[in-house]
C-alpha cells in the first residue's frame, strides 16, 4: 500500500488549482466557502492522523468558522478537550499545527475546555471568534457545550454586548481609520470594513434570532450587506493574490491592478481606480451606517421621532431639531426618513433653505446629519451636484479623504473656528471671525468649496459655475450668493500665492488685494483656507504653511486698510490697463503685456493711461548698465513739463537726476519714482524753468549731458551744486527741518517724511544723503507748497529690507545736511 497523500500538500495543490480557476478579481464569497471546505477536509485527515484522541475535538472559529477563507486568511482553530488527558491534547495540537506551520498557511489556535471557553469570553475578540464555532472533527458534544456557553454568555445581556461591539468598532476606527473614505483604507479592520460587517452578525447571534424579526434590520439593509460582503471578499482576495501576502491595506500601488482585476474601466469623469474606490466606499458606508443603526435600534437610543417628517423641509427640520438639542438623530427618526419617498431634485423653498442653514450652523452635528442623509441616499436629492463628489477619492499628496468627506470635515472645521475654537493660538482667526458679515456664507462656502471636483478637471473654475447653480436653486439672497461664489472661486488664492510666490513683492500683494477687494472677503478666505487645510489632514495646516498664509493676509489687509487697493481701485486698475492696451494697440502685444506686468500697480493707478502710453516707448527697450534715457513732454499746466528719466535702478540715481535738474535751471515741483519688477527706475518729475516760462532746448540738453556724466561718474555734482548754491541766498525765514521715520505705513519699505524750506538742490541733498547711507529710494512723492517742501520717501536698505536699526543716524544725517 502506498503512503496516503499528505493532506497539507493536497490542500496546497487544491488552493493553487482554485486560484487558477478564477481570475484574480473573481474570488468572492463562493471561493471563500470552497477554500473553507478544502481546509475542513485537510484538518479532518490531520485529526485522524493524530490518532483522533478521545475527549478532544477540533473546531473552526472566526472567519473560518463562518466558512469564509480568503486566499491568505488565517485558519483559526480551537482545540477543545475535556481536561482528562493533557498529554494527548498536546500531541493532537502538534499533529494539527506543525504540518500547517511548515507550509505557508497561517494558523491561529487556542486550546480550551468548554468551561475555559466561557472564561475566554471576557475578551471580546475571543468571544466573537467563538460565536462562529463549527465542529470539524472529534467529539461533537464538546463543541455543542462550548457553543452553548459562549452563546449564553452573549445572550445574557445583548445590549451590553452590542455596546461592547460598538466600542470595539470605535477603537478600530481610531486605530485603522475608515474604510469609507481613506485613500489607502484597511479593508478588514477599518471602520466600515470586513470586521464591522461581521460585527453585525455577532449582534444577531447575541440577539438569538434574525435581526429583521427583532425589528433591528431592514430588508434593504440585509441586501446591502450581502452586496458589501461579496465586494469586500473580492477586493480582499484580489489584494491577497496580488501581493501574495495577508495584507488588507489597499495601498495606492495596488489599486490599478485590483481595479483592473475587478473589471473597473475608465469612464468619463471617473478613472478606473477611482471607480474601484468609489464602489468600495459606498459599500463601506453602508456597513458603517447599518452597524450603527442596528446597535442604536437595539439600545433604543435617542428620543423617538416626535412626529415622523412628511416633507423634505420636515426631514431637515427634524434633523436640525436634534442637532440643535445636541443629540444624534435617533434610529427611529432615521427609519421614518428612510421610509419617506423624497423625490429627486427637491424644490428649495424658504423652509428647506432655513432648515438647511440651521443644520449647517450646528457644525459637527449638522455635518453628521448631512453624512447620514448621504448614507440614506438623500443628500443628492437636495443638492444634485453632491452625487458627483460623493465617494470620489482625491489623489494628491495632501488629501486623505474623499471629496465629500473632506467637504463635511471642512464644514466642521469652519464651524469650530467660527465658534472661536483654536483662536487662542491664532489671533488672526479671532480677528477674522469678527470681520465675517454672514456666518452662513462661510459655512456654505466651506461645505461647497470643492464641489467642482467632479472629474471634469479645473475644479476651481468648475466649482464656481456649479456653486452658482446650486445657490440659484437654493434661492440664496444676493450677498450670500456673492460671498459664497467668491469663496469657492478663490479658495486657493491665499494658500497658492503664499507658498509659491514672493511675499516681499508689493505688486503681488496689490494684485491679491485687487482680487480680494475687501477686508470681509479677505477674512472669509483666511478662515476657509484654514478650515480647508485642517480638514485635509494633519500635514496640511502646519506652522510653516500658516506662517506664510498669515504673512500674506496681514500684508493684503494693510493694503486694503490704507486704501491702496479695494474693489473700486481694482476696477479702475482693470479699466486703466485696458485703456493702455487700447492706446498701444499698434504695438506688439507681448511688449505691451510685458510693460503692464513690469510696471508697479501704483504707477498704473497714478499715471493716466494716455501718459503711460506715451512712456511705453521709453521704458520698454532693455536698458544698458550706464544708459540713461530722459524725455520730456508738455506738462499739465502751462509752463510745466513732465520729465521721464529711465535707467537701471541704483543707489544715488535719484540724487543725480535731482542734482542735474538743479544745475540745468529746472525746478522740481513734484516727483514720483517707480521701480519696475526687473530693477529699472522710471522716475517722473513735474518741472518748471527757474528762469524761463518756456524752457529752451539748450537747458534740456544741458540736463541730459550733466546726468549722463553723473551716471558714468565723470563729474562731481556735489561740488557743482555747492558752488552754484553760493550765489543764491537761503530763504530769509527758514522753516525748521522735520524728519519722521515710519515703519508702520508700508510692509515693504520705511517711509521717511522730510519737511524743509525749498532751496536750490534740496531734493539732491536729501537723496544723496540716502545714497551715502546705503538706502534705496523705492518710491518718492515730492511736493512743494509755497516755499516749503514736504517729501515722502519709501526707502529700503541694501538688502531690500525696511530700516530696522538706528533711525537716529538717518535723522541726524539729514538734519546736518539740510540745516547747513
Amino acid at each position: 500500500m502506498g503512503a496516503a497523500p499528505d493532506p497539507v500538500a493536497t490542500l496546497q495543490a487544491e488552493y493553487e488549482a482554485l486560484e487558477r480557476a478564477y481570475s484574480t478579481g473573481h474570488h468572492g464569497v463562493w471561493t471563500a466557502r470552497r477554500r473553507a471546505e478544502l481546509v475542513d477536509v485537510a484538518l479532518r485527515q490531520l485529526f485522524e492522523r493524530a490518532g483522533a484522541p478521545p475527549g478532544t475535538a477540533v473546531a473552526a472559529v472566526g472567519g473560518y468558522g463562518r466558512r469564509l477563507l480568503l486566499p491568505r486568511s488565517d485558519i483559526d482553530l480551537l482545540v477543545l478537550h475535556d481536561g482528562s488527558d493533557d498529554d494527548a491534547v498536546a500531541h493532537l495540537a502538534d499533529g494539527l499545527l506543525y504540518p500547517l506551520w511548515n507550509t505557508e498557511f497561517e494558523v491561529g489556535h487556542a486550546v480550551r475546555t468548554p468551561q475555559e471557553c466561557e472564561h475566554a469570553c471576557e475578551r471580546l475578540d475571543a468571544a466573537a471568534a467563538m460565536l462562529d464555532i463549527r465542529l470539524l472533527a472529534g467529539e461533537k458534544d464538546l463543541v455543542v457545550d462550548a457553543a452553548a456557553r459562549v452563546e449564553a454568555w452573549a445572550r445574557r445581556d445583548p445590549p451590553a454586548f452590542a455596546k461592547a461591539i460598538r466600542e470595539d468598532a470605535a477603537r478600530r476606527r481610531g486605530r485603522s481609520g475608515s474604510t469609507a473614505h481613506l485613500l489607502e483604507p484597511d479593508l478588514k479592520e477599518g471602520s466600515g470594513g470586513w470586521r464591522d460587517l461581521h460585527s453585525i452578525w455577532l449582534v444577531e447571534a447575541a440577539v438569538g434570532r434574525r435581526l429583521e424579526d427583532a425589528g433591528l434590520l431592514r430588508a434593504r439593509e440585509r441586501e446591502a450587506l450581502a452586496g458589501a460582503e461579496e465586494f469586500l471578499a473580492r477586493a480582499r482576495s484580489a489584494l491577497h493574490l496580488e501581493t501574495g501576502k495577508r495584507t488588507d491595506r489597499l495601498a495606492l500601488d495596488h489599486q490599478p491592478a485590483i481595479a483592473a482585476a475587478m473589471g473597473f474601466e475608465d469612464e468619463p469623469k471617473l478613472i478606473s481606480i477611482d471607480g474601484l474606490m468609489r464602489a468600495l466606499f459606498e459599500h463601506a458606508r453602508e456597513i458603517e451606517f447599518i452597524l450603527r443603526a442596528v446597535v442604536e435600534r437595539l439600545l433604543e437610543e435617542g428620543s423617538p421621532a416626535a412626529a415622523p417628517p412628511t416633507s423634505p423641509a420636515g426631514v431637515l427640520e427634524a434633523l436640525a431639531d436634534e442637532a440643535e438639542a445636541g443629540r444624534e438623530p435617533s434610529a427611529a427618526l432615521l427609519d421614518s426618513i428612510d421610509d419617506l419617498d423624497i423625490a429627486a431634485d427637491v424644490v428649495w423653498d424658504a423652509d428647506v433653505r432655513g432648515a438647511f442653514l440651521r443644520l449647517l450652523r450646528t457644525g459637527d452635528r449638522g455635518a453628521l446629519s448631512l453624512e447620514i442623509l448621504d448614507r440614506l441616499g438623500l443628500l443628492a436629492r437636495f443638492v444634485a451636484e453632491w452625487a458627483d463628489v460623493r465617494c470620489r477619492p482625491q489623489r494628491d499628496p495632501y488629501h486623505r479623504f474623499t471629496v465629500d468627506a473632506h467637504l463635511t470635515s471642512s464644514l466642521r472645521a469652519m464651524a469650530r473656528n467660527l465658534a472661536g475654537e483654536g483662536s487662542a493660538d491664532d489671533p488672526v482667526q479671532a480677528e477674522a471671525v469678527k470681520q465675517v458679515p454672514d456666518p452662513d456664507a462661510l459655512l456654505l462656502g466651506a461645505l461647497l468649496h470643492d464641489i467642482g471636483k467632479n472629474g471634469e478637471g479645473g475644479h476651481v473654475t468648475v466649482g464656481a459655475r456649479v456653486v452658482e447653480s446650486i445657490l440659484d436653486r437654493m434661492g440664496a439672497d444676493a450677498p450670500l450668493r456673492e460671498l459664497v461664489t467668491f469663496m469657492v472661486s478663490q479658495h486657493l488664492l491665499l494658500p497658492d500665492t503664499a507658498t509659491r510666490r514672493d511675499l516681499s513683492d508689493e505688486n503681488l500683494v496689490l494684485d491679491v488685494a485687487a482680487a480680494v477687494g475687501s477686508s470681509e472677503r479677505l477674512a472669509a478666505l483666511y478662515l476657509l483656507a484654514k478650515a480647508d487645510a485642517e480638514a485635509t489632514g494633519p500635514a496640511a495646516w502646519t506652522p510653516w504653511r500658516r506662517a506664510l498664509i498669515r504673512e500674506l493676509v496681514a500684508k493684503v489687509q494693510h493694503v486694503l486698510e490704507r486704501g491702496e487697493m479695494d474693489t473700486e481701485l481694482a476696477e479702475e486698475l482693470t479699466e486703466r490697463v485696458d485703456r493702455v492696451r487700447y492706446l498701444l494697440e499698434d504695438e506688439p502685444d507681448s511688449d505691451v503685456e510685458r510693460f503692464l506686468q513690469r510696471m508697479p500697480r501704483r504707477y498704473l493707478l497714478t499715471v493716466e493711461p494716455a501718459r503711460a502710453a506715451k512712456h511705453f516707448a521709453t521704458i520698454t527697450p532693455p536698458v544698458g548698465a550706464n544708459e540713461v534715457r530722459a524725455v520730456h513732454f508738455e506738462g499739465a499746466r502751462t509752463g510745466t513739463y513732465e520729465l521721464l528719466a529711465v535707467a537701471r535702478d541704483r543707489s544715488g540715481l535719484l540724487s543725480w537726476i535731482a542734482g542735474s535738474l538743479a544745475l540745468a535751471g529746472l525746478s522740481i515741483l513734484t516727483a514720483e519714482v517707480f521701480t519696475t519688477e526687473d530693477g529699472v527706475a522710471a522716475d517722473l518729475f513735474e518741472v518748471e524753468g527757474v528762469w524761463e516760462a518756456e524752457v529752451p532746448d539748450r537747458r534740456w540738453r544741458e540736463f541730459r549731458g550733466m546726468l549722463r556724466r553723473a551716471v558714468d561718474g565723470s563729474i562731481s555734482l556735489e561740488r557743482r551744486v555747492d558752488e552754484k548754491r553760493r550765489w543764491y541766498p537761503a530763504p530769509k525765514v527758514p522753516t525748521p527741518v522735520t524728519v519722521v521715520l515710519d515703519n508702520a505705513t508700508s510692509d515693504f519699505a520705511t517711509v521717511i517724511e522730510v519737511g524743509a524750506s525749498d532751496r536750490l538742490g534740496l531734493l539732491y541733498d536729501i537723496t544723496r544723503t540716502f545714497a551715502e547711507l546705503g538706502l534705496d529710494v523705492h518710491l518718492a512723492k515730492v511736493a512743494t507748497y509755497e516755499g516749503r517742501v514736504v517729501d515722502s520717501f519709501y526707502v529700503r536698505d541694501g538688502m531690500g529690507r525696511k530700516l530696522m536699526d538706528d533711525p537716529e543716524e538717518i535723522d541726524r544725517a539729514l538734519r546736518v545736511r539740510l540745516e547747513t
Binding site: 480677528e431 506664510l548 504673512e551
Partner: protein, 112 residues
C-alpha cells in the same frame, strides 16, 4: 560624493528645481522648515492683533552629487535661489561616506 544642503526661500524652489534639472540633476529631497538667521523673527499685525513670528518659513533641499558635479550644483542653486534681498538662505556642502540605493543595493556613485 558630497551632500549639498541648501536653505532657500519657498518661492525660489521651482527655479532651483528647474536649474538643477537643466544640469542633469533629477533627484532632490525637500523639506518645509522654519528658522531664523540674520533675518530675525518679527511682529506681524492683522487688524490690531499683534503676534510674534519667531521663525521664518524656508525650504531645505538636499542633493547628493558626485564630487565632480558639486561645483556645478552649488552654482546652479545659488544662482537660482538668489533674489539679492534679505533671507535668501544658506548652502553648505558635506562629505558623504556611503550611498546605497535601497531597492537594488547599488553603492557609491552607482547609487546616484
Amino acid at each position: 560624493m558630497k551632500l549639498v544642503t541648501a536653505i532657500v526661500k519657498p518661492h525660489r524652489l521651482d527655479e532651483v528645481k528647474d536649474a538643477l534639472r537643466e544640469i542633469g540633476i533629477n533627484g532632490l529631497t525637500t523639506t518645509d522648515v522654519e528658522g531664523f538667521g540674520r533675518q530675525r523673527g518679527h511682529t506681524e499685525v492683522y487688524r490690531g492683533a499683534e503676534y510674534q513670528v519667531d521663525f521664518v518659513p524656508k525650504v531645505r533641499l538636499e542633493v547628493v552629487v558626485d564630487d565632480a558635479d558639486t561645483q556645478g550644483v552649488v552654482d546652479a542653486i545659488v544662482k537660482a535661489a538668489r533674489t539679492g534681498k534679505i533671507g535668501d538662505g544658506k548652502l553648505w556642502v558635506t562629505d558623504v561616506q556611503q550611498l546605497i540605493r535601497i531597492r537594488t543595493g547599488e553603492m557609491g556613485p552607482d547609487a546616484l
